[in-house]
Symmetry: C2
Subunit: 182 residues, 2 copies
Protein backbone atom coordinates (compact mmCIF):
# COMPACT_ATOMS: atom_id res chain seq x y z
CA UNK A 1 0.00 0.00 0.00
CA UNK A 2 1.38 3.36 -0.95
CA UNK A 3 2.04 5.77 1.87
CA UNK A 4 -0.37 8.70 1.81
CA UNK A 5 1.20 11.79 0.29
CA UNK A 6 0.98 14.79 2.58
CA UNK A 7 -0.44 17.89 0.91
CA UNK A 8 2.40 20.36 0.77
CA UNK A 9 1.02 23.87 1.09
CA UNK A 10 3.23 26.61 -0.22
CA UNK A 11 4.04 29.13 2.51
CA UNK A 12 1.70 32.09 2.84
CA UNK A 13 2.90 35.50 1.67
CA UNK A 14 3.23 37.61 4.82
CA UNK A 15 2.15 41.21 4.30
CA UNK A 16 2.89 43.63 7.11
CA UNK A 17 0.74 46.75 7.35
CA UNK A 18 1.48 49.83 9.42
CA UNK A 19 -1.86 51.22 10.61
CA UNK A 20 -2.66 54.34 12.62
CA UNK A 21 -5.61 56.17 14.12
CA UNK A 22 -7.51 59.00 12.43
CA UNK A 23 -6.03 62.44 13.10
CA UNK A 24 -9.56 63.89 13.04
CA UNK A 25 -11.56 61.30 14.94
CA UNK A 26 -8.86 59.74 17.15
CA UNK A 27 -9.09 56.23 18.56
CA UNK A 28 -10.58 53.76 17.81
CA UNK A 29 -11.07 55.08 14.24
CA UNK A 30 -8.49 54.05 11.66
CA UNK A 31 -7.01 56.77 9.46
CA UNK A 32 -8.36 57.14 5.94
CA UNK A 33 -4.99 56.19 4.48
CA UNK A 34 -4.68 53.04 6.64
CA UNK A 35 -8.11 51.91 5.46
CA UNK A 36 -7.22 52.66 1.84
CA UNK A 37 -4.03 50.62 2.14
CA UNK A 38 -5.97 47.72 3.66
CA UNK A 39 -8.73 47.74 1.02
CA UNK A 40 -6.16 47.99 -1.78
CA UNK A 41 -4.32 44.94 -0.42
CA UNK A 42 -7.53 42.93 -0.21
CA UNK A 43 -8.93 43.94 -3.60
CA UNK A 44 -5.81 44.08 -5.73
CA UNK A 45 -3.41 41.56 -4.19
CA UNK A 46 -5.25 38.96 -2.12
CA UNK A 47 -8.51 38.87 -4.12
CA UNK A 48 -10.13 35.45 -3.61
CA UNK A 49 -6.81 33.76 -2.77
CA UNK A 50 -7.39 34.24 0.98
CA UNK A 51 -5.45 31.13 1.98
CA UNK A 52 -2.30 32.39 0.24
CA UNK A 53 -1.71 35.34 2.54
CA UNK A 54 -1.27 36.35 6.13
CA UNK A 55 -1.70 39.96 7.24
CA UNK A 56 0.44 41.37 10.04
CA UNK A 57 -0.97 44.60 11.48
CA UNK A 58 1.40 46.82 13.39
CA UNK A 59 0.19 49.92 15.18
CA UNK A 60 2.83 52.23 16.60
CA UNK A 61 1.74 54.59 19.35
CA UNK A 62 3.58 57.88 19.51
CA UNK A 63 4.09 59.26 23.01
CA UNK A 64 3.81 63.02 23.46
CA UNK A 65 6.97 64.95 24.20
CA UNK A 66 6.54 64.27 27.90
CA UNK A 67 5.62 60.68 27.21
CA UNK A 68 1.89 60.93 27.89
CA UNK A 69 -1.14 61.74 25.79
CA UNK A 70 -3.43 62.64 28.62
CA UNK A 71 -2.39 66.19 29.47
CA UNK A 72 -5.15 66.58 32.07
CA UNK A 73 -4.13 63.54 34.08
CA UNK A 74 -2.48 63.90 37.45
CA UNK A 75 0.06 61.22 38.18
CA UNK A 76 0.27 60.95 41.95
CA UNK A 77 1.16 57.33 42.40
CA UNK A 78 2.83 54.44 40.56
CA UNK A 79 -0.68 53.09 39.91
CA UNK A 80 -1.59 56.21 37.94
CA UNK A 81 1.23 55.51 35.54
CA UNK A 82 0.22 51.90 35.24
CA UNK A 83 -3.36 52.95 34.51
CA UNK A 84 -2.22 55.39 31.83
CA UNK A 85 -0.21 52.68 30.12
CA UNK A 86 -3.18 50.36 30.31
CA UNK A 87 -5.46 52.98 28.74
CA UNK A 88 -2.99 53.43 25.87
CA UNK A 89 -2.85 49.71 25.30
CA UNK A 90 -6.63 49.45 25.18
CA UNK A 91 -6.82 52.31 22.67
CA UNK A 92 -4.31 50.58 20.40
CA UNK A 93 -6.17 47.29 20.71
CA UNK A 94 -9.45 48.97 19.71
CA UNK A 95 -7.83 50.34 16.56
CA UNK A 96 -6.42 46.94 15.59
CA UNK A 97 -9.79 45.32 16.25
CA UNK A 98 -11.18 47.01 13.13
CA UNK A 99 -8.57 45.40 10.87
CA UNK A 100 -8.64 42.00 12.56
CA UNK A 101 -12.45 41.89 12.32
CA UNK A 102 -12.40 42.78 8.61
CA UNK A 103 -9.71 40.16 7.95
CA UNK A 104 -11.79 37.49 9.70
CA UNK A 105 -14.89 38.46 7.70
CA UNK A 106 -12.86 38.10 4.50
CA UNK A 107 -11.19 34.90 5.68
CA UNK A 108 -7.54 36.00 5.70
CA UNK A 109 -5.26 34.88 8.51
CA UNK A 110 -3.84 37.76 10.53
CA UNK A 111 -1.91 38.88 13.58
CA UNK A 112 -1.84 42.31 15.17
CA UNK A 113 0.28 44.05 17.77
CA UNK A 114 1.03 47.46 19.31
CA UNK A 115 4.44 49.06 19.83
CA UNK A 116 5.45 52.44 21.19
CA UNK A 117 7.93 54.84 19.72
CA UNK A 118 8.68 56.75 16.55
CA UNK A 119 6.48 55.04 13.90
CA UNK A 120 9.06 55.07 11.10
CA UNK A 121 11.84 53.71 13.30
CA UNK A 122 9.63 51.08 14.92
CA UNK A 123 8.18 49.88 11.59
CA UNK A 124 11.67 49.39 10.13
CA UNK A 125 12.79 47.64 13.30
CA UNK A 126 9.79 45.30 13.20
CA UNK A 127 10.42 44.56 9.52
CA UNK A 128 13.93 43.49 10.45
CA UNK A 129 12.59 41.28 13.26
CA UNK A 130 9.54 39.77 11.47
CA UNK A 131 10.91 39.68 7.89
CA UNK A 132 7.62 40.01 6.02
CA UNK A 133 7.48 39.52 2.25
CA UNK A 134 5.96 42.94 1.71
CA UNK A 135 5.24 46.05 3.75
CA UNK A 136 2.15 48.10 2.83
CA UNK A 137 1.83 51.61 4.23
CA UNK A 138 -0.76 54.27 3.65
CA UNK A 139 0.14 57.79 2.67
CA UNK A 140 -1.81 61.05 2.61
CA UNK A 141 -0.36 62.03 -0.76
CA UNK A 142 0.70 65.47 0.47
CA UNK A 143 2.56 67.94 -1.71
CA UNK A 144 6.21 68.78 -0.97
CA UNK A 145 5.28 71.94 0.98
CA UNK A 146 2.91 70.13 3.35
CA UNK A 147 5.36 67.26 3.74
CA UNK A 148 8.02 69.52 5.24
CA UNK A 149 5.85 70.02 8.30
CA UNK A 150 4.28 66.63 8.82
CA UNK A 151 7.05 64.34 7.52
CA UNK A 152 6.10 61.05 5.97
CA UNK A 153 6.55 57.65 7.50
CA UNK A 154 6.12 56.00 4.12
CA UNK A 155 9.10 57.75 2.49
CA UNK A 156 11.33 56.68 5.35
CA UNK A 157 10.12 53.06 5.09
CA UNK A 158 10.64 52.92 1.32
CA UNK A 159 14.20 54.07 1.88
CA UNK A 160 15.18 52.12 4.98
CA UNK A 161 13.06 48.97 5.41
CA UNK A 162 14.70 45.72 4.44
CA UNK A 163 11.73 44.28 2.51
CA UNK A 164 9.77 45.45 -0.55
CA UNK A 165 7.52 48.36 0.39
CA UNK A 166 4.43 49.66 -1.36
CA UNK A 167 2.83 52.98 -0.52
CA UNK A 168 -0.89 53.46 -1.09
CA UNK A 169 -2.25 56.96 -1.38
CA UNK A 170 -5.74 57.95 -0.30
CA UNK A 171 -8.13 58.33 -3.20
CA UNK A 172 -8.85 61.95 -4.13
CA UNK A 173 -12.50 61.71 -3.11
CA UNK A 174 -11.52 60.64 0.41
CA UNK A 175 -9.23 63.58 1.09
CA UNK A 176 -10.56 65.79 3.87
CA UNK A 177 -10.80 69.57 3.51
CA UNK A 178 -7.38 69.98 5.08
CA UNK A 179 -5.22 67.30 3.42
CA UNK A 180 -2.99 67.14 6.48
CA UNK A 181 -5.94 65.50 8.28
CA UNK A 182 -6.35 61.78 7.86
Amino acid sequence: MAASTPVVESPKTRIMMGVNESSMKGYPHASISSKSAFEWTINKIIQSNTSGFKLLFLHVQTPDEDGFDDVDSIYASPEDFRDANRRDKIKGAHLLEYFVKRSHEIGVACEAWVKKGDPKEVICHEVKRIQPDLLVVGNRGLGPFQRVFVGTVSEFCVKHCECPVVTIKRSANETPQDPVDD
Copy 2:
Protein backbone atom coordinates in the same frame (compact mmCIF):
# COMPACT_ATOMS: atom_id res chain seq x y z
CA MET B 1 -36.90 28.23 -17.50
CA ALA B 2 -34.51 30.50 -15.66
CA ALA B 3 -32.14 32.54 -17.77
CA SER B 4 -28.57 31.37 -17.40
CA THR B 5 -26.62 33.58 -15.03
CA PRO B 6 -23.44 34.90 -16.59
CA VAL B 7 -20.38 34.31 -14.47
CA VAL B 8 -19.18 37.73 -13.39
CA GLU B 9 -15.42 37.66 -13.15
CA SER B 10 -13.84 40.35 -11.05
CA PRO B 11 -11.37 42.41 -13.09
CA LYS B 12 -7.79 41.19 -13.14
CA THR B 13 -5.18 43.12 -11.21
CA ARG B 14 -2.90 44.65 -13.84
CA ILE B 15 0.76 44.63 -12.81
CA MET B 16 3.16 46.57 -14.99
CA MET B 17 6.83 45.56 -14.93
CA GLY B 18 9.73 47.56 -16.26
CA VAL B 19 12.30 45.08 -17.61
CA ASN B 20 15.74 45.65 -19.11
CA GLU B 21 18.64 43.72 -20.60
CA SER B 22 21.67 42.50 -18.66
CA SER B 23 24.50 45.04 -18.49
CA MET B 24 27.00 42.16 -18.61
CA LYS B 25 25.48 39.87 -21.21
CA GLY B 26 23.44 42.33 -23.29
CA TYR B 27 20.44 41.29 -25.35
CA PRO B 28 18.53 38.98 -25.27
CA HIS B 29 19.43 38.29 -21.63
CA ALA B 30 17.27 39.91 -18.97
CA SER B 31 19.03 41.73 -16.13
CA ILE B 32 19.33 39.94 -12.80
CA SER B 33 17.14 42.53 -11.12
CA SER B 34 14.39 42.25 -13.78
CA LYS B 35 14.32 38.49 -13.30
CA SER B 36 14.22 38.89 -9.51
CA ALA B 37 11.31 41.30 -9.77
CA PHE B 38 9.45 38.88 -12.05
CA GLU B 39 10.03 35.84 -9.84
CA TRP B 40 9.02 37.79 -6.73
CA THR B 41 5.76 38.85 -8.39
CA ILE B 42 4.96 35.27 -9.39
CA ASN B 43 5.92 33.63 -6.09
CA LYS B 44 4.74 36.21 -3.57
CA ILE B 45 1.80 37.98 -5.23
CA ILE B 46 0.25 35.86 -7.97
CA GLN B 47 0.97 32.40 -6.47
CA SER B 48 -1.63 29.92 -7.82
CA ASN B 49 -4.19 32.68 -8.52
CA THR B 50 -3.05 32.99 -12.14
CA SER B 51 -6.46 34.05 -13.45
CA GLY B 52 -6.56 37.03 -11.10
CA PHE B 53 -3.68 38.92 -12.69
CA LYS B 54 -2.40 40.31 -15.96
CA LEU B 55 1.28 41.20 -16.43
CA LEU B 56 2.25 44.14 -18.59
CA PHE B 57 5.93 44.06 -19.58
CA LEU B 58 7.48 47.31 -20.72
CA HIS B 59 11.02 47.44 -22.03
CA VAL B 60 12.52 50.86 -22.64
CA GLN B 61 15.45 51.06 -25.02
CA THR B 62 17.93 53.81 -24.30
CA PRO B 63 19.56 55.33 -27.37
CA ASP B 64 23.22 56.28 -27.08
CA GLU B 65 24.10 59.93 -27.12
CA ASP B 66 24.15 59.90 -30.91
CA GLY B 67 20.98 57.83 -31.03
CA PHE B 68 22.56 54.49 -31.99
CA ASP B 69 23.99 51.56 -30.12
CA ASP B 70 25.98 50.15 -32.99
CA VAL B 71 29.14 52.27 -33.01
CA ASP B 72 30.72 50.25 -35.80
CA SER B 73 27.86 50.71 -38.22
CA ILE B 74 28.20 52.96 -41.23
CA TYR B 75 25.02 54.73 -42.19
CA ALA B 76 25.28 55.52 -45.88
CA SER B 77 21.67 55.43 -46.93
CA PRO B 78 18.15 55.83 -45.51
CA GLU B 79 17.88 52.04 -45.60
CA ASP B 80 20.81 51.73 -43.17
CA PHE B 81 18.87 53.75 -40.62
CA ARG B 82 15.75 51.68 -41.19
CA ASP B 83 17.79 48.49 -40.71
CA ALA B 84 19.31 49.80 -37.48
CA ASN B 85 15.87 50.59 -36.11
CA ARG B 86 14.65 47.15 -37.11
CA ARG B 87 17.62 45.49 -35.35
CA ASP B 88 16.83 47.46 -32.17
CA LYS B 89 13.22 46.37 -32.34
CA ILE B 90 14.21 42.72 -32.75
CA LYS B 91 16.59 42.95 -29.78
CA GLY B 92 13.83 44.37 -27.59
CA ALA B 93 11.41 41.68 -28.75
CA HIS B 94 13.93 38.95 -27.87
CA LEU B 95 14.23 40.30 -24.36
CA LEU B 96 10.47 40.42 -23.87
CA GLU B 97 10.15 36.89 -25.27
CA TYR B 98 11.75 35.54 -22.08
CA PHE B 99 9.10 37.08 -19.84
CA VAL B 100 6.17 36.30 -22.14
CA LYS B 101 7.28 32.66 -22.43
CA ARG B 102 7.61 32.30 -18.64
CA SER B 103 4.18 33.89 -18.14
CA HIS B 104 2.61 31.46 -20.62
CA GLU B 105 4.26 28.49 -18.89
CA ILE B 106 2.83 29.69 -15.58
CA GLY B 107 -0.55 30.51 -17.11
CA VAL B 108 -0.72 34.24 -16.43
CA ALA B 109 -2.15 36.56 -19.08
CA CYS B 110 0.35 39.14 -20.32
CA GLU B 111 1.19 41.84 -22.81
CA ALA B 112 4.59 43.25 -23.71
CA TRP B 113 5.86 46.23 -25.65
CA VAL B 114 8.99 48.23 -26.40
CA LYS B 115 9.42 52.00 -26.17
CA LYS B 116 12.44 54.21 -26.72
CA GLY B 117 13.68 57.00 -24.51
CA ASP B 118 14.78 57.71 -20.97
CA PRO B 119 13.56 54.65 -19.00
CA LYS B 120 12.36 56.55 -15.93
CA GLU B 121 10.47 59.15 -17.97
CA VAL B 122 8.96 56.57 -20.31
CA ILE B 123 7.86 54.25 -17.50
CA CYS B 124 6.05 57.09 -15.71
CA HIS B 125 4.47 58.18 -18.98
CA GLU B 126 3.28 54.66 -19.71
CA VAL B 127 1.88 54.34 -16.17
CA LYS B 128 -0.16 57.47 -16.84
CA ARG B 129 -1.40 56.06 -20.15
CA ILE B 130 -2.03 52.44 -19.09
CA GLN B 131 -3.06 53.02 -15.45
CA PRO B 132 -1.91 49.69 -13.99
CA ASP B 133 -2.85 48.72 -10.42
CA LEU B 134 0.79 48.24 -9.45
CA LEU B 135 4.20 48.89 -10.96
CA VAL B 136 7.00 46.45 -10.09
CA VAL B 137 10.58 47.48 -10.82
CA GLY B 138 13.85 45.76 -10.12
CA ASN B 139 16.71 47.49 -8.38
CA ARG B 140 20.38 46.64 -7.96
CA GLY B 141 20.35 47.69 -4.31
CA LEU B 142 23.37 49.94 -4.72
CA GLY B 143 24.77 52.03 -1.90
CA PRO B 144 24.46 55.83 -1.99
CA PHE B 145 27.97 56.29 -3.42
CA GLN B 146 27.39 53.97 -6.37
CA ARG B 147 23.94 55.45 -6.96
CA VAL B 148 25.36 58.89 -7.64
CA PHE B 149 26.99 57.59 -10.80
CA VAL B 150 24.43 55.16 -12.16
CA GLY B 151 21.19 56.81 -10.98
CA THR B 152 18.22 54.66 -10.20
CA VAL B 153 15.11 54.33 -12.28
CA SER B 154 13.25 52.80 -9.35
CA GLU B 155 13.69 55.81 -7.04
CA PHE B 156 12.34 58.09 -9.72
CA CYS B 157 9.33 55.83 -10.31
CA VAL B 158 8.51 55.58 -6.59
CA LYS B 159 8.47 59.36 -6.46
CA HIS B 160 6.76 60.26 -9.71
CA CYS B 161 4.59 57.39 -10.99
CA GLU B 162 0.86 57.76 -10.46
CA CYS B 163 0.25 54.20 -9.23
CA PRO B 164 1.55 52.15 -6.29
CA VAL B 165 5.15 51.11 -6.95
CA VAL B 166 7.15 48.29 -5.42
CA THR B 167 10.89 47.96 -5.82
CA ILE B 168 12.48 44.51 -5.68
CA LYS B 169 16.18 44.24 -4.92
CA ARG B 170 18.40 41.49 -6.24
CA SER B 171 19.15 38.84 -3.67
CA ALA B 172 22.64 39.09 -2.18
CA ASN B 173 23.75 35.78 -3.70
CA GLU B 174 22.91 37.04 -7.19
CA THR B 175 24.99 40.19 -6.99
CA PRO B 176 27.90 40.15 -9.47
CA GLN B 177 31.44 41.02 -8.42
CA ASP B 178 30.91 44.61 -9.44
CA PRO B 179 27.47 45.49 -8.04
CA VAL B 180 26.96 48.10 -10.76
CA ASP B 181 26.68 45.18 -13.20
CA ASP B 182 23.28 43.59 -13.56
